[in-house]
Symmetry: C2
Subunit: 161 residues, 2 copies
DNA sequence: GAATCCGAAACTATCATGGTTACAGTTAAC
DNA sequence: GTTAACTGTAACCATGATAGTTTCGGATTC
């Protein structure tokens, strides 16, 4: 399983695309993601290293998008937060070299697994943060007109995050 | 990372395709894979549950292919040994439902991740155990004519596995 | 100078993975 | 029927990844 860091990172970027040009703190994002601010900062740090966000310390600081939402693909996000360039593990220890199968199986599997990996990545490359953001907003609007209203407590929480 | 069980399971099946119609024991396979026989038996058990191999206990027993090598795809193997039908993890804990992003991000990501997963699987579906076996044998032959010969010790080990 | 915010280190709990030992059950051969 | 050769499964351990938490130093704004 690919870790939840990808999902959280997309969440973070979609949130920042929503609050465009407004620096958001790790605490506010953490409230939306429902996790600890440090977990958010670790992921934001990876996105900063990849040049997708800029981070400002101090009062009124926080993170903002460094690129346009439609210029950030889910593949960019995946590569930023998921380390290692291999999706499939090969054998834990080297197979017997004196066996016809053991001596060559890894060289046969490597390119196959690499192709499978690339196929997965090409799907991620076709979706941008802007796409995710607009879908999220479309869903939020759809809920809004289906008669669901907020009470005072929900309103306060909605404004908080 | 997807566990090495897939690579080992393909190795096991390619080995059985090589030793066609001859029951191979977990110990022999383990020697080729370079691991513990119990690890092999766990994987062979999963392949047996998926109907790819039949297993015979007792003297002269072992595992044999239950289907033709060209009728077993790497996708079959992947699904047999890798549990769970999701490749990507979503958020560890449910995001804030009172946030536009948090309340909808998972529903947006789920189908995208599913599509990416399917794209990866479709590559695995195009490769059979017969393909892997023939590639392995082609490599073994290529090594053979490049002048690499075995000494007595290597010969014994080659016959053992 | 105080308040706010990030960055990073350190520690913990949990879980998946792979390896190992041990043993019960099944089969074939003698 | 006994023995030897297998599988199947449970139990346990070591390792590493993951996510959460606390803490503190440093940067920034007011």
């Amino acid at each position: 399983m690919i870790s939840s860091r990808v999902a959280v990172a997309v969440h973070v970027l979609a949130y920042m695309a929503w609050k465009r040009s407004e620096a958001v703190t790790s605490e506010r994002i953490a409230a939306s993601v429902n996790t600890n601010p440090v977990v958010v900062r670790r992921i934001v740090g990876a996105l900063r290293n990849a040049g997708m966000v800029t981070v400002q310390p101090g009062v009124g600081g926080g993170a903002t998008l460094a690129r346009e939402p439609d210029d950030i693909t889910l593949l960019d996000v995946y590569r930023a937060v998921e380390d290692g360039d291999e999706l499939f593990s090969l054998h834990p220890s080297e197979p017997s070299r004196s066996c016809n199968v053991g001596g060559n199986i890894r060289d046969v599997l490597r390119p196959i697994f690499c192709t499978a990996h690339r196929a997965m990545e090409s799907v991620l490359a076709q979706v941008s943060i802007a796409d995710v953001g607009s879908q999220v907003m479309a869903m939020a609007r759809a809920e809004g007109c289906c008669g669901e209203s907020m009470n005072a407590t929900e309103l306060r929480r909605a404004q908080a995050v």
